[in-house]
Point group: C2
Chain length 398, copies 2
């Protein structure tokens, strides 16, 4: 009999996607759906970035170098320099989105059966890449009561086994918006030194911090061999569809092995490398404008959420996500109910149930993730819907 592989079965379905049919049904009924469920920013891609592609004049759409165009990697050196990271261009492998950088890290550094520790809640697709690489994810719980700060180092220590090879952090964090402090990063540094672990640092949201500047894993001294940055232009320049990321490390053995994976798939996309290279030359105030927009949205959504009875939303320091604890029985049921059975002034909202972001079963049942990727007016309207919904939801707990 033709069979599907174990990993084909194990591979998790997207936790958000299962709600899509309900959103589509709501729209068919004429209900407006505010999408706070996904990380697709509504911010326009900078015109000069798109124009770089539109004004290109090559006549053959050729493979690029497997590590990405040399000219782009050299530009990236300037970019990293601007955020306090010193790397050489041959320490950068341009990847097909941040996704591929994560997969490459797992493939290169971990064997089938090895373990990777990830503070939960975490970006759900780490699970998928772990399944592809045959790697076990060991979650360490961070808690909404502490604003999702780094869990105590003792929790990591307890979870480390002889098969532990790496720790993954996302900083600032998706889904919590938490931005790790210098002190937390230093604690992680001591931990990876002590146990000889890799630190995979997903820094997709590097620029989007609202209180303190992001502390990159590459700002840590003395752990050059341990640190790998998984990067992407997706959120930075609102260029998600480009599928351009980067795998950055000073570990030569890791680079050499990863280059073989990069060569097998030939090259990252050529069009979007042109866009990404142009993006490095954006004016210095580009992020300021974008950040101010996100900050206003954060301030509004956090204020509105905390003003609702029984709701708690810690103030996220970065990214464009907020996690809120709601007075509900089950976040999956609630998010489905919002789409299936609720409307307020002809509208409802779509949220991401937090259960999909936890590795520990049963956690996140009262939490939802809100991506503030809509403008202030839309966020306000969506919060009106949520406020009303919490008053009438049959499974409310207060």
């Amino acid at each position: 009999m033709l069979t599907i592989s174990q990993r084909g079965h194990l591979m998790p379905a997207s936790p958000i996607r299962k709600l899509v049919p309900f959103a589509e049904a709501a729209k068919k009924k004429g209900i407006k759906v505010y999408h706070l469920n996904i990380g697709q920013p509504d911010i326009e891609t900078p015109k000069m970035v798109l124009d770089a592609v539109r004004n290109s004049d090559f006549s053959i759409l050729e493979y690029s170098h497997s590590a990405g165009n040399e000219s782009y990697r050299k530009k990236l050196v300037q970019y990293y320099e601007s955020v306090g990271i010193q790397v050489d261009y041959n320490q950068i492998i341009v990847t097909t989105g941040g996704s591929e950088a994560i997969l490459f890290g797992f493939m290169t550094c971990l064997d089938v059966g090895d373990e990777v520790i990830i503070p939960e809640p975490f970006y759900a697709n780490y699970n998928g890449f772990a399944v592809e690489a045959g790697v076990h994810v060991v979650p360490i719980t961070s808690r909404i009561e502490t604003g999702f700060a780094l869990p105590p180092i003792e929790d990591f220590e307890k979870a480390i086994t002889p098969r532990t090879k790496a720790i993954v952090i996302c900083n600032p964090n998706n889904p919590t918006g938490y931005s790790y402090t210098r002190s937390e990063m230093e604690q992680l540094k001591e931990l990876i030194k002590k146990h000889n672990l890799y630190l995979f640092s997903d820094e997709a949201y590097r620029e989007f911090t609202y209180d303190e500047k992001q502390v990159s894993a590459m700002h840590l001294q003395g752990v050059d061999e341990n640190v790998i940055i998984m990067d992407t232009i997706s959120k930075r320049y609102s260029a998600c569809g480009g599928r351009i990321g980067a795998f950055v490390t000073k570990n030569k053995a890791v680079l050499d092995a990863t280059m073989k994976f990069a060569q097998a798939r030939l090259s990252p996309p050529s069009f979007a490398q042109i866009a990404a290279e142009a993006a490095v030359d954006l004016p210095a105030d580009y992020f300021n404008t974008t950040k101010e927009e996100y900050r206003s949205r954060r301030d509004l959504i956090v204020q509105r959420l905390n003003a609702m009875q029984g709701v708690y939303c810690p103030n996220p320091g970065g990214a464009f996500y907020a996690m809120a604890k709601l007075p509900i029985d089950d976040s999956d049921k609630f998010c489905q109910w919002l789409l299936e059975s609720f409307e307020y002034n002809g509208a409802t909202l779509m949220l991401a149930p937090a259960t999909g972001f936890y590795g520990t079963p049963g956690l996140g049942m009262q939490e939802v993730r809100l991506a503030y990727v809509l403008n202030l007016t839309a966020i306000d309207a969506a919060m009106n819907c949520l406020e009303q919904a919490l008053k009438v939801y049959p499974g409310k707990t207060n």
Copy 2:
């Protein structure tokens, strides 16, 4: 200690790339190098395909659907119809190059430790994707004496074990240029039915056949559940850098599982999907012009090769590769020598040693692959170099 994974060690380095430093050194000495080593066509990407991207007017470079834009998949249905393949748009998952389609197939259909049978010589990167998926490649030798026709079915039968899950073919073939006949495809059909195997059919070069039309695996009757096509626009429209391919099957369970892998990496590149969609509307004579160009090149290169003493080159029916047997001791040494120690009229040529395309150690030592991706004048000049080289190469065997 920080370690590299077993697959990081096992992952093969590109068999061609190891010659690159020698080519670069030759160029630094002022020697012109004719590159017959790689599958990067010199044919221009059709202007209307590039213009579709250049004239696009979206303002946010968004994620596409994880299976690719619905509009593109619907266009692809028309394209497949034009080559005698009936599929529904939801039986197509747009991938990041043909590379990703191959990886998805291995990941979805084979478990770690399972076996896949591939007629050798074969596209070297199949090895890489097999390593990533933890799958064993079992090669079955096709021979230059038969023009690299399908090996006898008994050879497949002998190689099948309880762990055999799939057969991979590339049709027309890279590196041999061989185009499987209807009769060979029917034999494969009986084999996969008898043993319940998947047939992964890499049809990257579908349009490039010079004698008979290509027989697609999807032209076979009664094996809808077994067949998966791995496709790509790279060679078809000279659009290698777009990184757009397709995973096509009527097997619902395979599609559902593969969609989970597709969702984990979010989406294929957005820019190049626009290009690929436009390409479906190219005028019907587009392939005729391109094919005639490749056919003239094939005719010239095959004629020139067979006119050289001790050289044998079977006439390839498709793709843009020819495999030649040369009177030499070791193809790796010879290809390096061409770059390092030889020149004729200020020029030399770069070839791909065939050893990298065989899974069985020791095979291909007298064979090289020539990609006829240069114009007729350049091919002629390159053949002049080769003819001269074979007269003076210290390791010649006749």
